[in-house]
């Protein structure tokens, strides 16, 4: 990196030149000093931590991409599975609901089911991958010092990369069914954004919990399934009888999924309560998840 200074160096005398070089060199060395001390509060200094996190963002992105590549390595359909998987899943659930309902479900409902199922999968994939992220990063954790938050973050990115093509599938269906195309559709952006915030917090909680309780990933598929059934995915939110409403209300994903279905799928205006409750759940979970994860992450190297 000597080149940018070349002009400056030429215009000053030899003494100053040496001086400048020395100052540059000192500055570079000083920038590379690390001090490791005990953290008294259990949390590392927030500023430097966030800076490191930002500096290594490429790592999370690359890890997310690599995970995606590895998932369908060696299959005939390869990346086509990114579309095929959610389509098949939506088909299976639609068949189930149609039979249970005695055939009363129309194509509009199929669009609702698809939209909400894909948004739900964004969260459940983040949590599932997140739970494994720290454990499977064991070797890297034992060998390199970096903010461990990058590992669950990469899981959320993987989940999001799998989510994006499903949105394209939904868009095609939306247009094909002649569902309303208006400004209400734009609510999808903040609602999915909040879903991502929630997913990040939940992934960090799952990643930390898995280190201490290795049975978690065994329970997780069942927890996820019950969570799906208590979310307004296989039915519309307003179809639930009043006495079961409390169960729905306790579900962090309820406001986000209901909001998504009503605005994007049904073309209604957004109920502000959904937005407020969704945002509260999302940022609350992120805060809890981040504190839980970051306060424990220095222990991971000993626990793996």
């Amino acid at each position: 990196m000597r080149k940018p200074h070349a002009d400056t160096l030429r215009t000053v005398g030899p003494d100053k030149k040496a001086n400048l070089r020395r100052m540059n060199a000192e500055a570079r060395l000083a920038a590379d000093v690390h001090v490791f001390e005990p953290h008294r509060t259990g949390l590392p200094p927030v500023g430097p931590y966030l800076r490191q996190l930002w500096n290594r963002r490429e790592f999370a992105l690359e890890l997310a991409r690599a995970n995606l590549r590895a998932q369908h390595y060696n299959t005939t359909f390869g990346q086509v599975w990114l579309i095929l998987n959610p389509l098949l899943l939506a088909g299976v659930y639609f068949t189930l609901v149609t039979i249970v309902r005695g055939g009363s479900r129309g194509s509009d409902f199929f669009a609702h089911l698809m939209l909400c199922l894909f948004a739900f999968r964004l969260v459940s994939t983040s949590v599932g991958e997140g739970a494994r992220s720290v454990i499977s990063g064991g070797r890297l954790i034992l060998n390199v010092a970096f903010p461990r938050t990058l590992l669950p973050l990469a899981s959320v990115m993987t989940a999001f990369m799998r989510f994006l093509p499903t949105m394209a599938v939904y868009a095609v269906l939306h247009v094909a069914l002649g569902l309303p195309i208006d400004l209400e559709l734009l609510w999808a952006i903040p609602l999915i954004g909040l879903t991502l915030v929630f997913a990040t917090g939940a992934a960090m909680i799952a990643a930390t919990a898995q280190v201490y309780f290795r049975d978690l990933t065994n329970f997780l598929p069942y927890v996820t399934r019950v969570w799906l059934y208590t979310s307004p995915v296989l039915y519309y939110a307003d179809e639930i009888p009043a006495r079961l409403q409390p169960i729905l209300q306790a579900n962090p994903l309820y406001p986000l999924l209901a909001g998504l279905s009503e605005t994007v799928n049904q073309g209604q205006s957004l109920n502000p309560e959904y937005l407020a409750a969704g945002a509260a759940w999302a940022f609350g979970t992120l805060l809890v998840g981040a504190l839980f994860f970051v306060s424990r992450e220095r222990e991971f190297a000993v626990r793996l």
Binding site: R2, R28, P38, A66, R69, R139, N143, V144, F146
Partner: protein
């Protein structure tokens, strides 16, 4: 590209032969872990223990009140019996384990070869793992792209670089890990128990590479049980015992005392070397 070692040369030149600054300074370092006593926790034992209100954690004082300075250009060997705290010390210097007490100051960029850290995702290719490891260590994509060919060539893996790492042999793993660690342009290289990776020929090559790094004014920490190798490679040795520094000094002397402590003859050492 200027590495920090060039910078250091410039700085020391300018300081007119004043003594060089230290690369690593460890002050009153103590590291204590808490681990569970049970190797395989079972539900039954957990319930029994909960009933009796027993505690399961045990404190291990892996490093106790250790202080030392290491000057730039030093090749420091660390020896000691298993469980002496060598690996813990290395991990703490690398910033992987937090110290419980004391302070560590590290001047320069660290590269580690501790637990064969490369290949942490065995379903990914060697290429992916090299890039991921490098990015995690804080290198930029451009730096990695510039280094990649050199890394692949040094590891001699050929087309295996694009195969999933689960298809690699142990030697191939080791070669790639070593190649990555030494090509990261570290100012300080930490190597743990990885002196003899690959076959005899590659071992030679890795030794040469380490000497080359020393010549470039890098600082190297090596943990090993291969005493003869350490004697030729290092210019200083720390002998650790029970988490403390038992002896520090010139390689010949420390190794001699350590051998006497272990009570093994030269014949056994020679066997250990391979």
């Amino acid at each position: 590209m200027l590495s920090a070692s060039d910078d250091r040369a410039v700085v020391s030149e300018a300081l007119d032969g004043q003594p060089q600054d230290h690369a690593v300074r460890v002050q009153n370092l103590s590291v204590t872990y808490r681990t569970t006593i049970e190797k395989r926790p079972t539900l039954r034992r957990t319930l029994v223990r909960l009933g009796r209100r027993q505690r399961v954690v045990r404190e291990i004082r892996a490093v106790q009140n250790v202080s030392f300075d290491v000057a730039h250009r030093t090749v420091l060997g660390i020896i000691g019996v298993n469980g002496a705290g060598k690996s813990t010390l290395m991990r703490t210097v690398a910033g992987i384990l937090p110290p419980n007490e004391g302070r560590i100051e590290v001047h320069g960029r660290i590269s580690t070869l501790l637990a064969l850290g490369i290949g942490f995702k065995s379903e990914l290719s060697g290429r992916d793992n090299v890039i991921l490891g490098g990015l995690a260590a804080g290198l930029t994509r451009e730096q990695l792209a510039a280094k990649y060919e050199e890394i692949a060539e040094f590891a001699e893996l050929g087309s295996f670089m694009d195969s999933p790492m689960r298809t690699y042999s142990a030697g191939m793993y080791g070669r790639l890990a070593f190649s990555v660690a030494v090509h990261m342009e570290p100012d300080i290289l930490l190597v743990d128990e990885a002196l003899s990776v690959g076959d005899a020929r590659f071992k030679h090559k890795s030794f040469d590479k380490m000497r080359e790094l020393c010549a470039q004014a890098r600082t190297i920490f090596v943990v090993s049980h291969a005493l003869q190798s350490l004697q030729t490679l290092c210019n200083e040795i720390i002998w650790m015992h029970d988490g403390e520094i038992a002896l520090r000094g010139e390689p010949g002397e420390v190794i001699e005392r350590y051998r006497r402590f272990l009570d093994v003859g030269d014949k056994d050492i020679a066997l250990e070397e391979d």
